[in-house]
Symmetry: C2
């Protein structure tokens, strides 16, 4: 029984982004009870940090997680950021693909999905509205507003239930959400560990967290230094595609293609534009909209052949070697720590990134499984912990490809170490919507290896020195045990007194302290 | 220097789904040259199969992949399906989140992203428009239309460049797309292997593929049986959430909540509704829109406590044991094959699924790496090969957790076997937008294990019998070699003739053929 096309297309329809993700919430990272709650923490913390730093404020967050019932929680998340103006509140929290971060700038979030995803999950599991309080400055005065709203998924927008002005004496956003079907856990993928790792990579932030048992954890600042604000950087010529040029041309307000090039790309001077004109023979005085695809392709190909200065790195703000070490010391209290920050390089020809790596040994380093210490790999992207999809991530792949035996680590999995890797970029190539793993671009793999191997060499030196010290100690021990006996027995045989031997023995066993004491006598 | 909220929100904007995925094409599975091309094959084949089967047609696809230049290809993909009516062509190929498959029905695609994703990738890498020819029946007559179009990403819709009616004598869609920055490969993750696996799970389909060297592969049908059309099934009460009930209530045309329940859920009779009314004390004669969240929750909780018949399985069409074996024999030519199809069960309480598993041994089974045969795991969801993200998939996890030694396989990775697993469901819980791995729901893991262990037991029997046969053969060999010598020497010693011994020897070595021959003499 054959059916006609018209019949099959009767059911054709379009979904909004919210409807789509309501049917596919796992694509926002909401799968599994523990993971879902961790993702909520991730989205809210990330947004608070970005907003505070962008406004020039040292971030401070207070989180209160109450358990009302098995699997039923109320989360209150309050930050000290610049706040959200009234008109934007439901857009931020109820409209998917809406946001202020769609620029070429290094930021933790970029997709306009995070906050609205949390509200969607809350609504899907409890039917409860979200309650938001926002304090924000208007001409220097603080305005306060409180509203409760739901998400209208068929329209991909908010539905305000209640709204009132309230007096507030500081800026910031406080959101209160109910969740069911989620679970708070102390495991490696749980919300607590997420906060702990966040603090390693953000030693300038402060988080106060009250867990469901009522215990209050205060993660204080290890540094008062607010990270410099990343600047928006223009795309590098080596990083653009023909499609990007055509897209730019379609939406630019410049009247000539040449001025569009110089004002939309970095490292692009009039001199370079003239060179391009000469090489390609294309008249760059034409109107942007008249640019043909083939011409755009020719220009991009010419970009590939020309030497440009590397992309400006003012857009990239790594944590920095010293701060990584501070963070690791504060949280892991190790006996050895070393970190390094590589110089910026590019992947796919023109997207700049920086890899930072740190290794700590001893103390709270590693993960305790049973009574065995295992290695712990902490992955970060723009200071955000990546908790899931470890297997398919460029960072894991890079680390696993290192020949750890060369650095005195016989078996990476079973070493009592923590390896920290952070990728900093305006454009981290995530593998999935959940933003939990980095695509294995060859340049990224290379940098992860180089950075980590450099730090591993320091660890090797430390481990060697530790081993040598131990052997030295054993050697001394032998001398110290047997020399006195031999001397005493020899003296007894020779029927003389035991000679003064401590000074000589201390010299052989290299104990400067004993030597000093002896010299002082 | 603190900045105010108003300043930060100046840049706030909304993206369309197309703009979003243009910035995040890796979320559609387009990352890496080989993977990108495989994803294109996947999306187009999947859509052609679904359309043909839904229309009641045995699917036949002709694919022609031409290489114009390094990394520059033209793909022509033609099917014999019901075609697409003119008005829907650009919606199918240029509007994201639009489709006809947003129902509770088992189909390969479900997300309204696939075809438009291919057009987006083509446009992003070559700037070339897509060309589509569609033949479709209107009142029994075939109408033909050809158009070229681009995607307007800012509007998430198509932009028709050219359109004309053309005479056609059969229905179906032919699409021609240019791609750059992709790569055809014979590797496990390449387009060729994708087609090969597709044919194992779809023995009723025919694909003719001309590769870039001009070689034509014809994968013919192993079966003329068109799979029964899966029926749309109403959601099972155990599978709905309070949010689903509220969502239904908001959009139903029923005037009473009780009639909404009986007409929107499976296994829900008036008798059951009365029981629910009694248990909860909620008046179910109320209007759907008057249903409160708490009431919906109470009803869902009551669902959980009631006994319902399992979900109707008319919606699930597994490939079937015999067809899986046919597919594996056709493509792998093994010395042993066995398959099984489990009974439908549910995950998350009410989503029905079926697991099918098959194992083949010998012949073309396994993957040749160097000159070593390794085990090959072929994962499928609703007959679609899953090629990427193997590590995080429930199927892989289930298989790895089996104690293969118990079945005579010392080391799964290095066994010359192919393991086939297919999950059939109206609602496969994918882990990512790329639809390449299945979420590890406990019930799915359980079924993958049970199905595979059942087939593994058969393999074990086969391997044991093979071993026993080999030992038997060795034993016979010894008798056949030494008995004649001993007899001859004994005869010589006794100075008599050698007696007739073949008949007795054949009986001992159990060679019926020789026995027959001897008896015939």
């Amino acid at each position: 029984m054959e059916r006609q096309a018209s019949e099959l297309f009767e059911e054709f329809k379009e979904l909004t982004a919210s409807e789509f993700f309501r049917r596919n919430k796992q694509m926002l990272g909401f799968s599994g009870k523990i993971r879902s709650l961790t993702m909520v923490f991730h989205e809210l913390i990330t947004n608070s940090f970005d907003a505070a730093e962008e406004a020039g404020i040292l971030p401070e967050i207070k989180i209160d997680l109450k358990r009302l019932d098995k699997d039923h929680y109320i989360l209150r998340h309050r930050d000290n950021g610049p706040g959200i103006p009234e008109d934007f509140i439901t857009k931020v929290f109820c409209t998917m693909f809406a946001g202020s971060k769609f620029r070429n700038i290094q930021s933790r979030g970029q997709q306009g999905l995070g906050c609205s995803g949390c509200v969607l999950l809350s609504q899907m599991t409890t039917g409860k509205p979200a309650r938001v309080t926002s304090g924000y400055k208007v001409n220097g005065e603080i305005k306060g507003v409180q509203m409760t709203f739901k998400m209208d998924v068929k329209k991909n927008q908010g539905l305000i239930l209640d709204k009132k002005e309230i007096p507030l004496d500081s800026t910031g956003v406080c959101i209160e959400l109910h969740f069911k079907d989620v679970s708070y856990s102390l495991s490696e993928q749980g919300a607590y560990e997420y906060i702990r790792r966040t603090m390693i990579a953000n030693p300038h932030a402060k988080i106060t967290f009250r867990d469901p048992t009522g215990h209050v954890y205060i993660f204080d600042r290890a540094s008062e230094e607010i990270p410099p604000l990343p600047k928006e950087v223009l795309p590098h010529p080596r990083g653009v595609t023909a499609d990007d040029l055509i897209f730019m041309a379609k939406h630019t307000d410049k009247r000539r293609f040449r001025s569009m090039l110089t004002s939309n790309l970095s490292r692009m001077s009039t001199k370079r534009v003239n060179e391009i004109e000469e090489i390609t023979g294309i008249d760059l005085n034409k109107r942007p909209k008249d640019m043909k695809w083939e011409e755009a392709e020719q220009i991009v190909e010419t970009f590939r052949k020309m030497d440009f200065m590397a992309p400006p790195t003012s857009g990239l703000i790594p944590i920095g070697q010293e701060q990584v070490e501070k963070g690791m010391i504060e949280i892991l209290d190790p006996e050895f720590v070393a970190a390094t920050t590589r110089k910026p390089v590019t992947y796919r020809g023109g997207v700049a990134f920086v890899i930072e790596s740190g290794i700590s040994y001893g103390g709270e380093s590693g993960r305790l499984i049973g009574d065995q210490k295992k290695a712990e790999i902490m992955r970060f992207a723009n200071r955000v912990p990546l908790t899931f999809d470890q297997g398919s991530c460029a960072i894991t792949e890079g680390l696993k490809s290192i020949d750890w035996k060369r650095y005195g680590i016989r078996d990476l999995d079973n070493a009592p170490i923590t390896v920290f890797v952070n990728i900093v970029s305006t454009n981290v190539p995530y593998l999935s919507t959940g933003k939990q793993s980095v695509a294995p671009e060859p340049e990224i793999l290379h940098e992860v290896r180089q950075a980590t191997m450099k730090v591993a060499r320091k660890l090797q030196k430390y481990l060697r020195a530790k081993k040598a010290e131990k052997e030295e100690a054993m050697r001394s021990q032998i001398f110290e045990t047997y020399v006195p006996i031999i001397l005493k027995e020899a003296a007894a045989l020779a029927e003389t007194d035991v000679p003064e031997y401590e000074h000589v023995l201390a010299k052989v066993t290299r104990k400067p302290k004993i030597l000093e004491e002896l010299d002082d006598e």
